[in-house]
């Protein structure tokens, strides 16, 4: 094969490939092998666990629409029963159903249809439910505050709370009006498609009852903000509920600013003089909000609201301590010479983003931090051997008592490698023997392979040749002894430098039989024909192939006839005088034409 690729091109290609490899080695791996990939879920570990995505069709639409009509009933009922956790869960399920339906509508190209309107309305209703849940929380806080301020004989604050309640009641009435409109539209669509609407109707009733409850509580409140203090002086009022809390309790604060100087007046909520939240008051000067007690030390705290240089009265908040529980599970990781430590820190709820110390022998060897679920999972580098580990949560910044886990014991053993198996400390005779056997076996295999592949090519046996496989590999490499003999015989049969093939035939016939004699003269004649016709490795060709290759030559016909007679003797096994005479005639004719003046 002629080389067409120049060496310099190969070198440049190699350098480019090397540069590419260096580039890819610096960036993140594009192919993720099992040892490199960090499986976040079990589906990444086992792709067989993945289930094919469901195929959307029109049959998927109606069940989703039915779900969207059923779920509001549960949401409003839980809000009415003051079960915010369940209501939040229902809202999440509602949102998920809405998104599924939205995807189906997009995939099935159902935009500009009634179902598209239904989906949009569901989105709006989700927002209304969220607002209702929030306002209901505020309503409960206002109820508590009214009772508290009445008990403490603080008429100014009672009237303030009533004003806030009246404003809240108005907002809730507006919410109800919006929901009623959306409800009516979706109800008509649902009924048109034959969907069940009983639960959906119930949601409207529950919504209405919540609004009525607010009206009954605060319907008769003042409709303008109540001035406190001397007339004209700006006033800011802040109230919180509850005023006693533990870790992860939600504190709701409400207040108002008077006089109103404009929309979106910034209000800062300060906890012990430090900024806690920055919010804005609405057009009526009202502001509400909430925060969760997390990284607030236990004890009394003071909350104030600040806006436009005016500060509210101090509002006290008492944060109480709760006990916590810390757990630890530790596993030895011999691959990375580390201890895999994981566990949780739980107070009344998981302690989020909390510091956890991994301790061994009263010494902190690693610092971990919990995630949003109160779980920590770290790999702690340790040495080989036995370790007794403890996880400890101890932070004064949280209203949570310190706690520590039960001790977890791990034993990190040195991995047994073949080198250590044969070392004086861990010698294993069986392992050594197995290794030696395998290596010896492969060495023997390699020797046999090398000997077979480099052995001289044996000449074709006579029996094989007699089946029409007269191919001899003696023209390349080592010449077969038989070929040397033929050439010797041929040289002996020369008459004044001319070959006497007939004499060679008769001599060989008398010594080895007619079949061998025919084979001998065939090879001499075929060799000469191959010379004339420039046929490489003629001995690998069968007589018929040789005849076919020489057909275009002047001696082609005569050589073909000679091959015909040759095959009768060699393959048909005929040795009668007629066949012999036929062979000699063909030999004479072919030899005259092929050998020319050499015969």
């Amino acid at each position: 094969m002629k080389n067409t690729i120049p060496v310099w091109a190969v070198i440049i290609a190699g350098l480019l490939a090397l540069a590419g490899l260096l580039y890819f080695s610096l960036v993140s791996p594009l192919l993720y092998s099992p040892e490199n990939a960090k499986a976040e879920t079990r589906f990444q570990l086992n792709t067989d666990a993945l289930t094919p995505a469901p195929i959307n069709s029109t049959t998927d639409v109606y069940p989703l629409m039915q779900d969207l009509l059923d779920q509001p009933g549960s949401i409003t009922l839980n809000i009415r029963l003051r079960d915010p956790a369940s209501a939040q869960a229902d809202l999440a399920a509602y949102l998920k159903t809405y998104k599924n339906l939205d995807n189906v509508v997009l995939n099935l190209d159902m935009t500009d249809s009634e179902i598209e309107n239904f989906t949009k309305s569901a989105d709006l209703q989700d927002e209304l439910f969220s607002q209702l849940l929030n306002e209901t929380g505020t309503l409960d806080s206002l109820k508590n505050l009214e009772v508290r301020y009445r008990d403490s004989n603080d008429p100014d604050m009672v009237v303030s709370v009533q004003y806030q309640g009246a404003a809240l009641q108005k907002r809730m009435s507006d919410l109800y009006a919006k929901y009623k409109a959306e409800h009516g539209a979706n109800l008509a669509i649902g009924q048109k498609y034959g969907l069940l609407t009983a639960k959906y109707n119930q949601s409207l009733d529950d919504f209405q009852r919540i609004v009525i409850e607010a009206q009954e509580q605060f319907g008769s409140g003042p409709v303008v903000p109540v001035k406190s203090g001397s007339s004209g002086n700006p006033v800011i009022i802040l109230a919180i509920d509850p005023d006693t809390a533990v870790y992860r309790d939600t504190i709701r604060f409400i207040g108002y600013l008077y006089p109103v100087t404009g929309n979106n007046t910034p209000v800062a909520i300060l906890l012990d003089g430090s900024s806690l939240q920055n919010i804005t008051a609405d057009a009526h000067g009202e502001f509400t909000g909430s925060f969760v007690v997390e990284k607030i030390p236990a004890g009394p705290h003071m909350l104030v609201a600040e806006a436009e240089g005016v500060t509210s009265r101090n509002t006290s908040l008492e944060v109480l301590l709760v006990n916590s529980t810390t757990t630890l599970d530790a596993y030895a990781d011999t691959d990375h010479i580390a201890a895999l430590c994981n566990g949780t820190v739980i107070a009344n709820l998981p302690v989020r983003f909390a510091p956890v110390s991994i301790i061994e022998n009263n010494r902190t060897i690693f610092n971990a931090t919990t995630d949003e679920n109160g779980i920590y999972n770290v790999s702690v580098p340790v040495s080989y051997g036995r370790h007794l580990l403890i996880a400890r949560f101890d932070s004064q910044k949280y209203p949570v008592n310190a706690s520590e886990s039960e001790p977890a014991e791990i034993v990190l053993e040195k991995p047994v490698t073949p080198s250590s198996a044969t070392s004086p400390g861990g010698f294993s005779f069986v392992s050594f023997l197995i290794g030696v056997c395998i290596v010896s076996f492969s060495a023997a295999g390699a020797f046999l392979y090398f000997r077979k592949k480099t052995a001289p090519v044996p000449e074709e046996p006579e029996e094989k040749s007699s089946r029409g496989q007269d191919t001899v590999s003696s023209d390349q490499g080592i010449a077969a002894p038989e070929m040397q003999e033929v050439l010797h015989q041929a040289s002996e049969s020369t008459k004044d430098g001319r070959l006497d093939l007939q004499g060679l035939f008769e001599k060989t016939e008398s010594e080895q039989g007619i079949s061998t004699a025919a084979f001998t003269v065939y090879r001499v004649l075929a060799g000469r024909a191959a010379d004339l016709h420039h046929i490489d490795r003629f001995v690998t060709q069968t007589p018929r192939q040789m005849a076919a290759l020489c057909m275009e030559e002047p001696f082609g016909q005569a050589f073909s006839r000679f091959v015909y007679a040759y095959e009768i003797i060699r393959y048909a096994g005929k040795t009668d005088p007629e066949t012999r005479s036929l062979f000699l005639d063909a030999l004479s004719l072919a030899a005259n034409l092929i050998m020319g003046d050499r015969t």
């Binding site: 190699g14 490939a17 890819f24 192919l31 492969s442 295999g445 390699a446 392979y449 592949k453 001289p456």
Partner: protein, 82 residues
């Protein structure tokens, strides 16, 4: 010469995939090289011609088989040691 090019390209492809996966393993690289040279030797070896260069190739392959045996032995011992 063409065989050298083919073997080089084969090894570049193997290296590329290993680097893309950020997982370069010399043992796997060696075994894939051995497979490549075995395939090339079988395709080049006509059975009728015994060239000196082919003799060297077969010698390299024989040495490779011994090394392969050593790798297999090491892996088996690692498994037994667990």
């Amino acid at each position: 010469m063409a065989a050298v090019y083919v073997l080089t390209i084969w090894l570049i492809i193997v290296s590329l995939f290993m680097l893309l996966a950020r997982s370069f393993d010399l043992e796997i690289f060696f075994v894939l090289w051995l497979i490549g040279i075995l395939v090339i030797a079988e395709l080049l070896d006509s059975g009728q011609v015994r060239t000196t260069s082919m003799k060297y190739v077969h010698f390299i392959i024989a040495v490779g088989i011994v090394v392969f045996g050593a790798i297999v032995a090491q892996k088996i011992l690692e498994i037994l040691a667990r």
